[in-house]
């Protein structure tokens, strides 16, 4: 069974897969698209690498859509089963791999929610203060790209970035926490931000 792959409802400025920039390469020169193509040929190593890159972004997306950790965990497994099944439908010439994976993930999560006749966790739109569906979709997509990009940092860089942004630690506190000099924290933070800027080029255009 294949999975129909629709474009994300809200793409970063520009709105089409062709304008989202080049697929970033890892240290081995493999892009997300390369890995999807290899999964299509049933390469288990590529599937594992793809999982390592996208498990957290998929889990984050599922959590936002379903609002429940257990259901989100199930959705992650179903998403990667869908990726395995539908990798052959990916066309590299149409754009990078991350938007395609986003579409597969989103569809698998939505399908799962519908199939089980469970009400969506998101509250229905009630007041004008609520973000519109398009705004929510765009926010989800930005989170997806950023979380995917974080997986592209080295472990050292990712640690300092996540501690600074999401654990509310100051640079000095990070140095104490990791047991490294303050200067090293600053160097890694700046290098990590620079690498993120590279990886998020599609977002920044």
């Amino acid at each position: 069974m294949g999975v129909s792959v629709a474009l994300p409802a809200a793409m970063p400025r520009g709105g089409s897969r062709e304008t989202t920039g080049e697929d970033p390469r890892d240290e081995r020169g493999l892009t997300d698209g390369d890995l999807i193509s290899r999964v299509a040929r049933r390469d288990a190593n590529a599937f594992e690498l793809l999982y390592r890159r996208f498990a957290r972004p998929v889990f984050g997306l599922a959590l936002r859509r379903l609002g429940d950790r257990m259901r989100a965990e199930d959705a992650v497994q179903e998403t990667f089963a869908a990726i395995w099944r539908s990798a052959r439908t990916y066309r590299p010439e149409r754009g990078p791999g991350a938007p395609w994976l986003y579409a597969v993930a989103r569809n698998a999560i939505v399908d799962r929610s519908r199939n089980r006749s469970e009400p969506p966790a998101e509250a229905p739109e009630a007041a004008s203060l609520e973000p519109s569906p398009a705004e929510r979709a765009e926010a989800s997509y930005v989170s997806w790209r950023v979380h995917r990009a974080l997986e592209g940092l080295s472990g050292n860089e990712r640690d300092v970035i996540e501690l600074a942004y999401y654990a509310e630690l100051s640079q000095s506190e990070i140095a104490d926490f990791l047991g490294i000099p303050l200067g090293t924290v600053k160097t890694r933070t700046r290098a990590g931000l620079s690498r993120l800027a590279d990886l998020l080029e599609g977002e920044l255009q």
Binding site: R56, V142, R145, E168, S194, A197
Partner: protein, 206 residues
Amino acid sequence: MTPAPDFDDLVGKEVPDEERARLLRAHRLLVEAGPPPELSPELDSVPWPEESQMPLLKPKQRRPLLLAAAIATALGIGFVLGQATGPSSSSMQTVRVVKLAGTELDSDARATLELGKADASGNWPMILHARGLQQLPEGGYYDLYLTKGGKPVVLCGTFNVKGDEIIVHFSAAYDLSHFDKDGWVITRQRPQNHEPTEVVLRPTPV
């Protein structure tokens, strides 16, 4: 939303304007995105899809071919017990050795592929010893394929080469009876071409 850290505190003030603007955009996206979730222990390991266990079979074919695979494995094990010999370089019990010779694309290359005894789950361990393969440009790599009708059809693993000799361990979960006898080839992949079109090593004629 988590409060944003002070951008100037993070990057300092002696950053050229253009670079500062680039980093600031990344900073704002990090804040907008919020923290990624921590994976639960259940998600730490790869959730292999059920389909990945039988990669070549369509659902309707699965049951009879599973039976056939079990019989073939049992026969194979019987054969192995009688025949197990060979230049095993590890604890793997070698059941077959396939010699590979370089094609016109890399005529100096040569290799042997040792096929081990399948485990209880049907995984066949393999050890590739290769010599003389060219070191490829950045982004290039080699693939080990199983062939059918002489054509590479399923991937058994990838590797890279630095130096003259390499030993690589692989594992394949395929039912080998579906493929050519001694049907392994090694292909050369380039950064912009991931199709198995350039066969550099193929089995030597017996």
